[in-house]
């Protein structure tokens, strides 16, 4: 019985962690970008205030919209939370790791995207369709690169279970510096930028119809619905950063659920996430957004990197 409560307690901790840090990472990226533009920028806590405000505001629902418009924010939010239970953050293994593997994680994200893209077409405006069309096209070409990068990691670990992948690396840290591993990391980093709608693929700060992708799909959302969608995409970013840091560099991760190990694990997790967030901000500040039809080339680079990683793994072994 105590084991059961343990599972619940740890899962709740995991949920709260991802829920709470999602907006923070967004704040850090925005702050760093502001500094690059020689602005002071808003406080790193600003995303929390934004969400709180949005939750209190009324929702404007277009006449055309169907029930899909109303359920999608909840569905996207909930599926992101389920993903948060599958991905190791501060400690490994996560208690519900048997429920789904990395492929499940990717497909759950695809489920959320499927519904958001449908909502883009649901409102009957031109912007929504524009966003859906672009989002689904780019998602299609992200997928092979992402799968191949994950394939490399999974093949090294002999499993697609995230906790096993992470656990194997914590027990043999030397393989973190394996060149195959590093190449797969860089492939997945590009994929992360594309998947979470960052510059140079998409610009999260724009509302210009020529350039927006994700923002165009959710243009008709407001108030509470917008808050849920925004929060979910912030959590998506942190999940991807957690994947990047823990699938490749699970240093100082807690392997038991003792308070001391958790403390170190949390500190290490935050350190890694902040570093990655700053790197994302640097990439965003130093690159221009690519033209839509140049994006496939970028993703081709990610694909080739992952393929090289696999070939290297094949030649020199794990």
């Amino acid at each position: 019985m105590s084991e059961f409560f343990g599972v619940i307690l740890i899962s709740l901790f995991q949920l709260l962690l991802v829920l709470a840090t999602g907006p923070l990472v967004n704040g850090i990226i925005k702050k760093t970008k502001a500094r690059f533009q020689r602005r002071r920028g808003a406080s790193v806590l600003q995303p929390y205030f934004d969400l709180a405000k949005l939750f209190r505001k009324e929702v404007v629902v277009p006449f055309v919209a169907s029930w899909l418009f109303r359920i999608t924010p909840y569905l996207v939010f909930a599926s992101t939370l389920v993903i948060a239970l599958l991905v190791p953050t501060v400690a490994t293994p996560v208690p519900l790791h048997w429920m789904g593997d990395i492929i499940t994680v990717i497909y759950l994200f695809a489920l959320g995207r499927f519904f958001v893209a449908l909502v883009g077409l649901d409102t009957g405006g031109a912007f929504g369709g524009l966003g859906s069309s672009r989002e689904m096209s780019i998602a299609s070409i992200i997928e092979p690169a992402m799968m191949l990068a994950i394939f490399t990691v999974a093949v090294t670990a002999g499993s697609t279970n995230l906790s096993v992948i992470v656990g194997r690396l914590t027990s043999s840290p030397a393989s973190m510096l394996n060149p195959a591993h590093l190449l797969a990391f860089s492939g997945l980093f590009i994929v992360t930028l594309a998947e979470t709608g960052r510059v140079p693929v998409d610009n999260p700060a724009t509302h210009l119809e020529l350039t927006m992708i994700h923002e165009a799909m959710i243009l008709e959302y407001s108030g509470r619905y917008l808050a849920l969608i925004e929060w979910a995409s912030q959590m998506k970013l942190i999940v991807f950063l957690a994947l990047l840091s823990n699938m490749f560099f699970p240093l100082y991760m807690a392997t038991t659920w003792s308070p001391w190990a958790l403390l170190i694990g949390s500190a290490a997790f935050f350190g890694k996430i902040i570093v990655l967030a700053v790197v994302v901000a640097v990439v965003e500040s130093t690159n221009a957004k690519l033209r839509l039809f140049r994006v496939p080339e970028l993703l081709m680079v990610a694909f080739i990197l992952s393929l090289l990683a696999l070939i290297l793994y094949f030649i020199i072994g794990a």
Partner: protein, 692 residues
């Protein structure tokens, strides 16, 4: 547990007579009607109701029979008739047959219920007697194909299946497009049948056997070259029926031309008889010890079919053609499992081969369910709006709420998204391929990662395509009067779609159950059992060879349902009661949004068309007619064409060669009796000289 297997034979006879009775009913009644015993109206209603109910009841019997064979493992063997030259013709249904029989019967049961409502549209307009006759004959021949246990019987019922579908495609024979589609189908399918006959004759010449039981594991008795010849004949012969690229050209024409209930059956299960034939011949007859290149060839065909199938589907805005191209894609995914199984088995890793084969067979079952559902949905849309062109539709979610809901379920399932069934079989395919990478063989190391990457691409493109198909058809504003005045379909049609949607959910949520049924099939074909390797506790699916890779769809789904409470309650705590206000969609300041402002299907798929422009080779023409000045345009026509590489570079040249050679033969066909007599004389002399 009591052994009920002695009931198999009566159930089988009941099923067969049921279909036969359903087929004969209109024939007998037509005889009565000739004598003015009943009016046309009564005749049609009787034929429709009793014919489709007979099909429904027989299909249920088929389900029961299939389940009993799958669960007890006792094959059904019925000796039909003894012929002097071919020996005993018999029915032999083992577990593999039972899987396909079950899949066919399950879909046929739903489609029969659907047809009760769907065919009311034909009352007084079309020849309903013919439809009911062909429908039942089609089902009977299709179930016979998968249970036939004798070469000659197989070819006979295979041909019967091909011919009934030919007439069904041609049902709308006033339409020249239907006639063309039916002709193309009958030509293509006979190329396939010819190769199958060659294959069975080759098999006979080396084994002396016609019975499927005596052909089992006949591979080692056949010399290597002939064995590969048999393999190629089977791959192409069955491949034509399965619609794999490059033998697919009939499929996107034929499936939309047939009535929608027939399209569902053709796309959902008829093309699977090709898969059945391949699995039967490759694993049952020609295995074990197969050359490596067989698996590679099937994998290449599989990857080409899946990627090109979905890419072509993206360019379609005819709803039924779009679904037909998705059938090609899904046949490709099934063949990825089959090809990987061949490849792994040729390298001696039968445990992995079993996993890959299970993944493929699982997808057979899944595809039948969601593709059947989607075609029934498309039929419902066609019924309600009289349009298949999605550019004319939109906003149907208001007018046809049930159809749109079930179509959405089918769309989620076919896109391979959790928690529905498409996800599980794609997941298993991924796992089989991932584990296969550990086999130390260069070909595997190259083939496997590429297959994985392209399977991922296929899945994502399918999702894009179904966002388009569902979004443009059912969401937004109606784009025409037809969509504006759409009506929801009848309760029987909705019930049929609901049952298939439930099947999609059940097969997605209980993968352990399905795999435990599929496992004995794989073990009977490959001699390796997965049990003990696939653990099946609590609906959890654990992959062999790796101690920890697992998914648990029921828990995942339960958790997803439960966790929806978090945003609901959390939002309430953070912001109180939800206040909403209805408003117009933003239209850049214009007072009203118009349907024409929405994205069209063509516009939606434009980025994909640009990215994969090498494959599509799209050409577009814009014609602008001006009257007085370039600022006042009278009309603009826009035409966009994508080119089929296969038609242009394979089929057109082949057609030209045939026509040219036929012209050459025409020279000796002079019409003079004397010259024909001379030909006969010359032939006779030559025969006497050479064929002594």
């Amino acid at each position: 547990m009591h052994d009920w297997t002695y009931l198999q034979l009566p159930v089988f006879l009941f099923m067969a007579t049921g279909f036969a009775a359903g087929a004969l009913l209109p024939v007998i009644l037509t005889g009565l009607r000739r004598r003015d015993v009943m009016s046309r109206d009564v005749f049609e209603r009787v034929v429709k109701n009793f014919g489709f109910i007979a099909a429904f009841v027989s299909s249920l019997a088929g389900c029961i029979l299939a389940l009993s064979i799958l669960l007890y493992g006792e094959p059904l063997h019925v000796d039909l008739l003894y012929t002097r030259h071919f020996g005993m013709m018999s029915i032999h249904a083992d577990r593999l047959s039972a899987l396909f029989l079950g899949t066919i019967s399950l879909l046929a049961a739903a489609v029969s219920v659907y047809s009760l409502g769907y065919a009311t549209e034909f009352l007084g307009r079309r020849n309903l007697g013919l439809l009911v006759f062909l429908y039942n004959a089609f089902l009977l021949s299709m179930v016979s194909v998968v249970v036939a246990g004798h070469t000659v019987l197989f070819v006979f019922v295979w041909e019967a299946m091909s011919l009934t579908t030919y007439f069904l495609i041609n049902y709308d024979h006033e339409d020249p497009a239907s006639r063309r589609a039916a002709f193309l189908y009958v030509v293509m399918t006979h190329i396939g049948t010819a190769l199958l006959v060659v294959m069975f004759m080759l098999l006979y010449s080396f084994t002396g056997a016609f019975g499927f039981e005596s052909l089992k594991s006949a591979g080692p008795r056949i010399p290597a070259f002939e064995r590969s010849l048999i393999f190629l004949c089977a791959a192409i012969g069955f491949g034509v029926k399965a619609g794999i690229i490059p033998f697919h050209i009939w499929l996107p024409e034929a499936h939309p031309a047939a009535p929608s209930n027939i399209s569902a059956l053709m796309s959902g299960v008829m093309i699977k008889t090709g898969i059945y034939g391949m699995v039967r011949v490759f694993f049952d007859f020609l295995g074990p010890d197969i050359p490596q290149w067989w698996g590679v060839l099937i994998l290449v065909l599989a990857v080409a079919s899946s990627v090109l199938g979905v890419l072509y589907a993206l360019m379609e805005h005819d709803l039924k053609r779009l679904l037909a191209f998705h059938s090609i894609e899904n046949i490709g995914i099934i063949l990825m499992g089959v090809g990987a199984a061949l490849l792994f088995s040729s390298l001696g890793n039968n445990a992995l081969a079993a996993l890959a084969l299970i993944a493929g067979l699982y997808h057979v079952l899944n595809h039948a369910m969601f593709k059947g559902l989607l075609f029934l949905g498309a039929g419902s849309v066609l019924h309600g709006t009289h349009s298949r062109n999605i550019e004319e539709l939109g906003g149907l979610i208001e007018k046809m709420p049930w159809t749109s809901f079930f179509f959405l379920i089918g769309a989620v399932a076919i896109s391979g998204l959790p928690p529905l069934n498409g996800f599980v079989s794609e997941w298993l395919t991924f796992q089989a391929l991932l584990l296969g990478f550990h086999i130390s063989d260069l070909v595997v190391k190259i083939a496997v990662p590429l297959t994985v990457a392209l399977l991922a691409l296929t899945g994502a493109l399918a999702a894009a395509c179904f966002v388009k198909a569902f979004g443009i058809t059912f969401l937004g504003l109606p784009r025409s009067d037809r969509a504006m005045h759409a009506r929801e379909s009848s309760p029987t049609m909705i019930a049929a779609m609901a049952s298939l949607a439930i099947a999609c959910a059940v097969f997605g949520l209980a993968p352990g159950l399905v795999v435990s049924v599929l496992d004995p099939i794989a073990s009977s074909l490959l001699g390796t059992n997965l049990s003990g390797q696939v653990s099946l506790n609590g609906g959890m699916l654990l992959v062999p060879d790796s101690t920890s890779t697992s998914i648990s769809p029921p828990v995942l789904t339960g958790l997803l349902m439960a966790i929806i409470a978090v945003p609901l309650v959390g939002a309430f705590l953070l912001g109180g009661r939800l206040r909403t206000r209805a408003a117009m969609t933003w239209a850049c300041g214009l007072p009203k949004i118009e349907p024409r402002m929405q994205y069209s299907a063509t516009g939606f798929s434009k980025p994909i068309r640009m990215i994969f422009s090498n494959i599509y080779r799209a050409t577009h023409e814009i014609e602008i007619s001006e009257e007085t000045s370039p600022y006042f345009r009278a009309s603009i026509t826009y035409e966009l064409k994508t080119e089929s590489v296969f038609l242009k570079h394979i089929y057109e040249p082949a057609y030209n060669i045939i026509v040219t050679s036929a012209r050459m033969f025409r020279r000796i066909q002079t019409g003079h009796l004397q010259s024909y007599l001379a030909y006969i004389f010359i032939t006779l002399v030559l025969l006497l000289l050479f064929a002594r």
